[in-house]
């Protein structure tokens, strides 16, 4: 595979009419080749993320048409080994509103550029909890839920179901390990004891021998309530279901899964969003698409309500109590003023239906139950947002 070093995709959507306000947003993406996995059934679509951005620009433009506000989206994609900072500098020369679809290291590198000092950057692809914690940045907001928000949501479900005996299988990829560590923190947070954990180290072809290997691999767990699989790259997890020694539900990265978004979310008017997305992209909306959509809709909502397009005004409004975004999850979406994370319910889904949506009933919070998932103000070590 060969990657061209410079910008691959370029997409500008100029809008007709005498616009008084022009909001220009740049979608900057690092093309990360997916790690090799046992099955090729589900390859990531080539327009993952950016398709959500395009839909949101269309949504914003429709509103803007009635207010004399226009929106333009530029998109740049750089190769896995290319210089993202250079592309970010070029993008920031044209706008201070950036959507960043890149791994955590890149996110920090871009946020720390001198050119990005007064910019407003949305992280739509890096779930790393540290970006919402000690490594937060004042110019960086997150519409993608953190890994901890997802594992907290699942832990709430375990508490509700009284599933307390919870062994785990963790893959070797860094994202698998991060999910496993976060899951253990979430279990502890909700008063559950993490169960025994086994590392997945097979290199055999599980398409042929999962039914032979997985029962033996899981036999040692003895009796338990549910199995947690930490397999964020979707390598082996699909072969665990129905092959375990004990007939028990599989949760985590497979089976019952906490997600930012999924095609099975159809309540709260979500069917309309799903339809609009499918019309545009000819596929189902995924969490990164939703995060990109929410980021640009957030900007659109802030432009609509303030009439401004500069990063400082928009950021102040987005973090203020006046801001709220209708996001088809049944509650208004807002941003945590202490670390820039978008507050959002977390759907718990299986491939065919929504099972539950965290925060679950009974998990109380003095301000909003949405802050029972993810880093709450007293937990977050983020200081960049201090007033």
């Amino acid at each position: 595979m060969r990657f061209v070093l410079t910008a691959l995709a370029f997409c500008v959507l100029p809008l007709a009419g005498a616009a008084q306000t022009d909001a220009r947003i740049h979608y900057l993406q690092r093309a990360v080749p997916p790690p090799p996995t046992l099955s090729d059934l589900d390859t990531p679509p080539g327009d993952l993320g950016v398709a959500g951005a395009r839909l949101a620009i269309d949504d914003n433009a429709t509103t803007g048409r009635f207010l004399g506000q226009s929106y333009a989206l530029d998109a740049t994609r750089v190769a896995a080994d290319a210089d993202l900072a250079a592309a970010a500098r070029a993008a920031l020369a044209g706008t201070d509103l950036l959507i960043l679809d890149a791994p955590a290291d890149d996110v920090l590198a871009v946020a720390d550029l001198p050119e990005a000092r007064g910019a407003l950057i949305f992280n739509v692809a890096a779930p790393d909890t540290n970006l919402r914690d000690a490594d937060c940045r004042a110019n960086l907001l997150h519409t993608l839920p953190s890994t901890q928000m997802r594992t907290d949501a699942l832990a709430q479900f375990f508490v509700l179901k009284k599933w307390t005996d919870l062994p785990m299988i963790a893959g070797g990829h860094a994202s698998d390990q991060a999910f496993a560590a976060s899951m253990e923190r979430s279990l502890a947070k909700y008063g559950l004891k993490p169960g025994p954990r086994k590392e997945w180290r097979f290199d055999a072809n599980m398409r042929r021998n999962a039914s032979a290997e997985v029962p033996l691999f899981t036999q040692g767990f003895g009796r338990y309530d549910a199995l947690i699989v930490a397999d964020e790259i979707h390598d082996f997890g699909r072969y665990i279901l129905y092959n375990t020694w004990e007939p028990r539900p599989v949760t985590g990265s497979e089976g019952l899964t906490p997600v930012g978004w999924d095609r099975v979310v159809e309540q709260w008017g979500a069917a309309q969003l799903q339809n609009r997305f499918t019309d545009l992209a000819a596929r189902a909306m995924q969490p990164r698409d939703y995060a990109a959509w929410a980021a640009i809709r957030t900007l659109g909502e802030a432009v609509t309500r303030t009439g401004a397009t500069d990063a400082a005004t928009l950021r102040a409004y987005i973090l203020s109590p006046d801001f709220e975004l209708g996001g088809f999850l049944g509650r208004p979406l807002t941003f945590r003023a202490w670390n820039g994370q978008m507050r959002q319910p977390i759907p718990l889904v299986h491939p065919r239906a929504l099972v539950a949506q965290a925060p679950l009933d009974g998990f109380l919070h003095p301000v909003t139950e949405l802050d029972t998932i993810g880093l709450d103000a007293p937990e977050s070590r983020c200081e960049a947002f201090a007033p």
Binding site: T63, G269, R276, E324
Partner: protein, 351 residues
């Protein structure tokens, strides 16, 4: 009042109707007793009872509720995903938004048969019938369009570009202004019905769902589901006049989501459905203060009054039922099981 014509029917009616009624304080005064017996007799004649028609979004049916017995008397099949429902001014036909059939269906309410479909544009969700009893203004949810249909010629008269996910529809009593609210664009779009063009667009809070002209068309009320408010506009200037907030004890504000609302006689009070908070609010339409909250079924969305607005029927989507509320006492008096996801409600007089 009981119509005079029903009195002879009582005299000639079955003794069962009057004879088996339990003793009550009314016995001390014979007149109310006779009146009660008259009601019982009228009940025995189903053709004379008024009806509430409820669309069941996920059953593709309409449940017809008898307003006297408070029971479902008929279940009628419709096109796919019925939502908005309204009767013609003379109640000779009923219009139904069959959203997933991409049609507005015209039904004979007596036989329950579909007479024909109207062209509606894609995914019709809500509509309003103009005072001329001829033009339907239809919100096409998936297309960001309002379609105007002539119900006589069965043709599309105009299509108007509006915001994303149009839903709430209203028309002024004189028919000069039509309103579409758009759920994702968060606006009320003001349509001049003479030109079928927009003449104003006003922002409201997040996810506007329902709009009504009140007080002889001098005020426009728009509910915002996610914003949790109702915005009141002065129609003459399209300026915001008031904003109504709802504050339910022990329920997080996020779950207080106003959707449908209707007004009592004289537009003195609004009954507002608050969605997943499972409550109605009663709002004084002069002071804009909330006076009461009434517990009803789960995820309450729309509603319809009976003939004299003494009772209110709410559609409760998640519990799949209709709550009957006594307007004077502001108390729920009965829950009626209907189909899956009841959505819209409309009143049909039969006298």
């Amino acid at each position: 009042m009981i119509p005079a014509s029903s009195f002879p029917k009582y005299l000639g009616g079955s003794p069962k109707d009057g004879g088996q009624r339990p003793p009550s304080p009314a016995r001390r005064n014979p007149l109310p007793m006779i009146r009660a017996a008259c009601i019982a007799t009228v009940l025995a004649l189903p053709a004379q009872a008024d009806e509430i028609w409820v669309t069941n979004e996920h059953d593709d049916t309409i449940s017809v509720i008898d307003t006297d017995t408070l029971e479902v008397t008929r279940t009628i099949e419709t096109g796919e995903r019925p939502r908005g429902i309204t009767f013609s001014k003379d109640h000779s036909v009923v219009y139904i938004c069959a959203s997933d059939s991409d049609a507005v269906q015209v039904m004979d309410p007596v036989s329950g048969e579909i007479l024909h479909d109207l062209p509606s544009g894609e995914d019709p969700e809500q509509f309003v019938l103009a005072p001329d009893n001829r033009h339907l203004y239809i919100a096409n949810e998936d297309d960001a369009i309002t379609t105007v249909v002539d119900t006589e010629t069965r043709t599309v008269v105009a299509q108007i570009d509006v915001g994303i996910e149009p839903e709430g529809m209203a028309i002024s009593p004189d028919g000069t202004i039509a309103i579409t609210t758009s759920e994702t664009t968060n606006m009320a779009h003001w349509i001049d019905t003479a030109t079928q063009e927009l003449f104003a667009n006003t922002l409201v809070d997040s996810r506007p769902r329902h709009a009504e002209f009140v007080k002889d068309g001098t005020e426009l009320w728009v509910s915002s589901e996610i914003g949790g408010t109702i915005t009141v506009f002065d129609v003459a200037t399209q300026a915001e006049k008031a904003k109504i907030d709802f504050d339910l004890p022990n329920i997080h504000p996020d779950r207080v989501q106003p959707v449908g609302f209707e007004f009592t006689t004289g537009d003195t009070h609004a009954f507002v459905a608050l969605g997943p908070s499972n409550h109605l609010a009663v709002v004084d339409a002069e002071t804009y203060e909330v006076e009461d909250y009434i517990l009803v079924g789960r995820r309450v969305w729309h509603m319809a009054f009976d003939a004299d607005r003494a009772r209110l029927f709410t559609t409760n989507g998640i519990s799949g039922d209709v709550t009957v509320v006594d307007v004077a006492s502001r108390k729920p008096i009965k829950t009626i099981k209907v189909g899956r996801f009841p959505w819209g409600a409309a009143f049909r007089p039969t006298n």
